[in-house]
Symmetry: C2
Subunit: 324 residues, 2 copies
Amino acid sequence: MTLRYPLSDHSAATGFGGNILDRMSERRDESAFADSVRADRHGRALLYSGDLLVADQEGARILFTRSEAEALGADWVNAVFLGFDADGPIFAAPVPEPGDSFTVHNLRQLAIDARISPELLGAVAQGRSVTGWHATHGFCANCGQPTIMGAIGMRRDCPSCGASHFPRTDPVVIMLAVDGERCLLGRQRRFVEGTYSCLAGFMEHGETIEAAVRREIWEEAGVRTNRVSYYASQPWPFPSSLMIGCFAEAISTEIEPRDRELEDVRWFDRADIGPMLDRTHSVYAAPPAVAIAHHLLRAYYERGAPVANDAVIDGAAIITGAMA
Amino acid sequence: MTLRYPLSDHSAATGFGGNILDRMSERRDESAFADSVRADRHGRALLYSGDLLVADQEGARILFTRSEAEALGADWVNAVFLGFDADGPIFAAPVPEPGDSFTVHNLRQLAIDARISPELLGAVAQGRSVTGWHATHGFCANCGQPTIMGAIGMRRDCPSCGASHFPRTDPVVIMLAVDGERCLLGRQRRFVEGTYSCLAGFMEHGETIEAAVRREIWEEAGVRTNRVSYYASQPWPFPSSLMIGCFAEAISTEIEPRDRELEDVRWFDRADIGPMLDRTHSVYAAPPAVAIAHHLLRAYYERGAPVANDAVIDGAAIITGAMA
């Protein structure tokens, strides 16, 4: 039942990038299918208390049976169906703050700790985004009336005006501008001291990925770029972004930001990037492997400027996925 | 003032992909900037009657001055700021159906006819998506109360609950699965007879681009794919999609759709693709150059299976953009 995708592409290596649930999206509208999935005795749920994931006391087990979920206050009939793993259907549901027999976990920290399999971590991200969307989209944006859940949680319908609303995913470009042996990084005010990362920003209407990459680098650094190449993507469930990771070839080098979004933007020597990633640099640091920025920086550090012109997967074929 | 981006990447060559407006997004929240932009005597507007773009009687001029726009019923104070071209700010606004001295145009047909410059066509797509978003998002999805426009049209704010809402852009994967000298195309029921195109579908929460490509091909054709490579992207203003165009390497060939979304899915020989694109094939046809599918097919026809493993821009550097 479970779709096995290859886990060895660049995107699957990012935090939350390893989701292999079979979403059965072609059957979500069949009420008989919805009923059978909901009644499946192998059903388990990921439970969210606000932004946090619920786990057992040891912080190890995060999938709960229907009776366990209901004991914690989950509404099983309105739980969102995420997809099937090898053991059966997985749902996501919000619950109140659980008692002392349970623990709650920040998703970013969960990914950093790497105690959960990459595959399940992808489902955790999916569940967080969709439950967050339902929590903030109870009303119809078109007419203001209350909406109801449809398609086992993948839609909200408005009985008043007839509009259908689907979960939103916000595309964000995140990119490393490269000038030969230097690359461009910025620091947000909220970052830990010394930490720098790739520039990023939300895509807008009427824009290609390449144009968004060039626009954001121009706004945040005043640097012009030309060739843009895609490297990897990542679901980022805070609340529901799709990070689109690219390299960009710099064609100007003077830094003169047009906005004040970043506290600092500067060029870093390629030789500094390795120690920044490994946290052995005396002054600076780069994001951990949960972040797609880490992977962009790692690729640049290892391969140098050519990575910006040759962002496809290295010659060797990927290990082939198989149907389990 | 205008940002000149290179227009020679794969994405810029797609319909609506050539937008070069300087969006000034870093200043949208400054009320003094908003006031000065709105009062700029060089301001012009794109006007939309429902889904259609308004033009003069000859169908040639699509930018209207403030007095012309107001005569047609536009509310200049609530027009959406799109960005600057070399002549000043450009806005977008809805208007009632105009009289006989004007013409209205389907955006897809406008792009096919190619009478408007690719740069301006990109702005037309941007204006269509953002005016459409305002028209269907007058209420707060979080609390159901009316919202008001902010950031010169790039946000809606809820005075009741304080939520901010940003225009949504829906990422869609569109892809060509390749099996050596054959590629996989499908036919939607609404297509003109004989027309086949690339498979496509909306991305979902907790999913990478590569995983979405593999999932959609699996659902619509029952074909398994492995390596995925990005080729180009395209804004698609019906109503506000970001088309993400990819190639995928097929690792199974039997066609057995899981859903009934397509009327037919089949393998096409590479040799047929050129005549299908040029509309000289005796039986089949492929989409016109406005569609990113055309560009994926053209690249495959010209370069063969390696395109799926080497989707970066060909060796030669792109003509460099310059600040106008």
